[in-house]
């Protein structure tokens, strides 16, 4: 605890501990150097990335990327929380520090739509490449049998309100529906195709 406080006086915005976890909040532009120091400084020796996860606090709020580190010199898990703007979900990648963060980051991109700048393999890992929603966001509701559920009757596979439209180029369409990319709209007068 004391060590952390001394090492990152300006980085540290919040530090607390429970029975076996020490928690630390770091701004997102300092995350790479903080993690590198924690791994390489012999006073810390956090050599293992135990987990990297994303939390969505809902529309109008923020994302959080959470790192759990393990060191054989300290008895507790170290949890590092980083806030990410929900309207600008970018954060630097840490695959340069631990290559094993690759699948974690691909999963977070797939499920939450967080973009890890500098990651050289940021593609979907579970869903198919042409899928466009981000299923673990809070506004991706599960279809429900109850008629008064907000998700009643929706297409269970795609929820356009979670699409990050800037990822798919120019959006606003003549159909008036901002969720549909005009390149994919059926044309009113399609050129006649030949039947085989």
């Amino acid at each position: 605890m004391q060590l952390l406080g001394n090492a990152f006086p300006e980085t540290l915005t919040d530090l607390w501990t429970d029975e076996d976890t020490v928690e630390l909040q770091v701004p997102r532009d300092r995350i790479v150097e903080t993690l590198r120091t924690l791994r390489d400084d012999p006073a810390f020796g956090f050599f293992m990335l135990a987990d990297e996860a994303a939390v969505d606090y809902g529309p109008g709020n923020r994302f959080e990327v959470v790192y759990h580190l393990y060191s054989d010199r300290h008895p507790a898990w170290l949890r590092i929380r980083t806030s990410v703007d929900r309207d600008d979900p970018h954060i630097p990648t840490i695959t340069g520090i631990w290559s094993g963060a690759m699948f974690h980051e691909r999963e977070m991109y797939d499920m939450m739509g967080i973009i890890f700048d500098g990651n050289r393999d940021l593609r979907r890992i579970y869903m198919s490449p042409d899928y466009r929603s981000f299923p673990q966001r809070r506004d991706f509701l599960l279809p429900d049998d109850a008629a008064d559920s907000p998700a009643a009757g929706v297409d269970p596979l795609e929820r356009p309100e979670t699409w990050d439209l800037r990822r798919f180029g120019d959006v606003l369409t003549s159909s008036g529906d901002p969720h549909i990319d005009p390149r994919f709209l059926p044309q009113a007068d399609p050129t006649p195709r030949e039947k085989p």
């Binding site: 293992m48 393999d121 549909i180």
Partner: protein, 428 residues
């Protein structure tokens, strides 16, 4: 009376390409479910290159073929992929140049389901994740929810938990040994392993009532106490289990063919393993003494006597030896647990619908495949606000592109089996 023949909208002319194209456009616009043509299903055309531009640097590198190279697609139905995983291998002749695991065929969105379930029912949803270590899957959420809710399991419940997870570890490692031999052409070891697994599964069904998805852990304890049937089966199980393990050892360990195919194969240094997030027996086979039971003790493991076993070479053979050693270690732990098991209750009283105070909890355990951890956030409601699971075999799969280049395509099976991924856990 004749019915009016209304055309069934589901039946369509199979060669109506105009209709197919219209369906595709409607699907892409989000107006209809996606049509499943063969090419779209595979994502590949006949040559093997994806039918879309590469999205990332790594994908471009993977799918750029030089003179004499070709792509070979293994899976998702290939038996040696241990489930529905696809491996795309870039080969030059029979030698692998690069390999790319393609996941998601078994993705069920368990994290999302758990966020829509109450704390009690979460423990049933996590069962089918890593279906060979079901008890471990329940252990980490149970610890995390107990931290959130501020209850502690009674000591007897902790002992029973340790007992069932060690039993589970024995058959999980046994199956890994059997599948490793099976993927290289030896059928007998898997039969011995299944004899042992069946006995353990019978034991665990005597205590939990289920054979595979046990649903045995509860927030604040376990569901049932050990009963007479369990104890009478366990009494004679030990010697028979030891026999199946030593039989397997006698078949495999000094087998010339096995040694020729596994020694030096897929060698992983300790530094590489840590860098790629490999944990569990695979990490210890590379010489790193990291075991969550020792490194960050939970449950009753501080009270038990055991050492962290490691191997040095980090190849497929070392991973096999590591599993054999850990089976014997687990059986030794089971003896200790049975000797020391205290009397008392097996469950703390908790309400039917648990509403913990807002907070966060992290719990990690040592599953047969490595560090399995749960990060749960409560907002005060009956469901976890966020429920995150780190599955060890998902992360361990990342070493495939590191291990395989330079080896023969046929050795992919040996390396895959030695990493021991379970697709239920990989795809969540």
């Amino acid at each position: 009376m004749t019915r009016t023949a209304e055309p069934d909208p589901r039946i369509r002319d199979p060669i109506d390409l105009e209709r197919v194209e219209e369906d595709r456009l409607r699907a892409v616009a989000g107006l209809a479910p996606a049509p499943r043509t063969g090419t779209e299903y595979a994502g590949f055309d006949l040559v093997g290159i994806p039918d879309r531009p590469p999205e990332t640097e790594r994908e471009r590198e993977m799918f750029t073929l030089e003179e004499g190279e070709m792509l070979v697609n293994m899976g998702p139905q290939h038996p040696s992929t241990h489930g529905v995983m696809r491996l795309v291998a870039k080969v030059r002749g029979e030698v692998i140049v690069d390999i790319d695991p393609v996941l998601g065929y078994l993705h069920r969105g368990i994290e999302k389901l758990c966020e829509n379930a109450t704390y009690t029912t979460v423990l049933t949803y996590v069962d089918p994740m890593d279906y060979l270590s079901t008890m471990h899957n329940e252990h980490a959420p149970a610890i995390a929810f107990e931290k959130l809710f501020g209850v502690k399991a009674p000591r007897r419940a902790e002992y029973i938990r340790a007992l069932v997870v060690e039993l589970n570890r024995v058959f999980s490692h046994g199956l890994m040994i059997g599948f490793l031999a099976l993927d290289m052409g030896g059928i007998t070891p898997i039969l011995y392993s299944f004899i042992n697994r069946d006995e353990i599964v019978d034991l665990l069904s005597a205590i939990s009532g289920q054979r595979m998805l046990f649903n045995f852990f509860r927030v604040g304890g376990v569901n049932w106490d050990v009963n007479d049937e369990f104890l009478s089966r366990l009494g004679t199980w030990h010697s028979r289990a030891l026999k199946t393990v030593t039989d397997n050892e006698r078949l495999i360990t000094e087998n010339e063919i096995f040694k020729a195919r596994t020694k030096g194969m897929g060698a992983l240094s300790g530094q590489q393993a840590i860098d790629h997030g490999v944990t569990g027996p695979n990490l210890r086979a590379s010489g790193v003494p990291f075991d969550v039971r020792k490194a960050h003790p939970y449950s009753i493991y501080p009270e038990l006597e055991f050492e962290v076993i490691t191997q040095q070479s980090g190849d497929v053979y070392a991973r096999y030896l590591q599993r054999i050693a850990e089976i014997k270690q687990s059986m030794h732990l089971i003896d200790q647990i049975m000797d020391r098991m205290p009397h008392g209750a097996v469950q703390t009283q908790v309400p039917g619908i648990i509403r913990p105070k807002p907070g966060r909890a992290y719990a990690a355990i040592e599953s047969p495949r490595g560090l399995y951890s749960v990060y749960a956030i409560s907002d005060g409601g009956p469901n976890p606000y966020r429920f995150r699971m780190r599955d060890p075999s998902f992360i361990s799969l990342q070493v495939m592109p590191l291990l395989m280049p330079g080896h023969l395509l046929a050795d992919t099976m040996a390396v895959m089996a030695s990493i021991d991924p379970v697709m239920g856990g990989v795809d969540k």
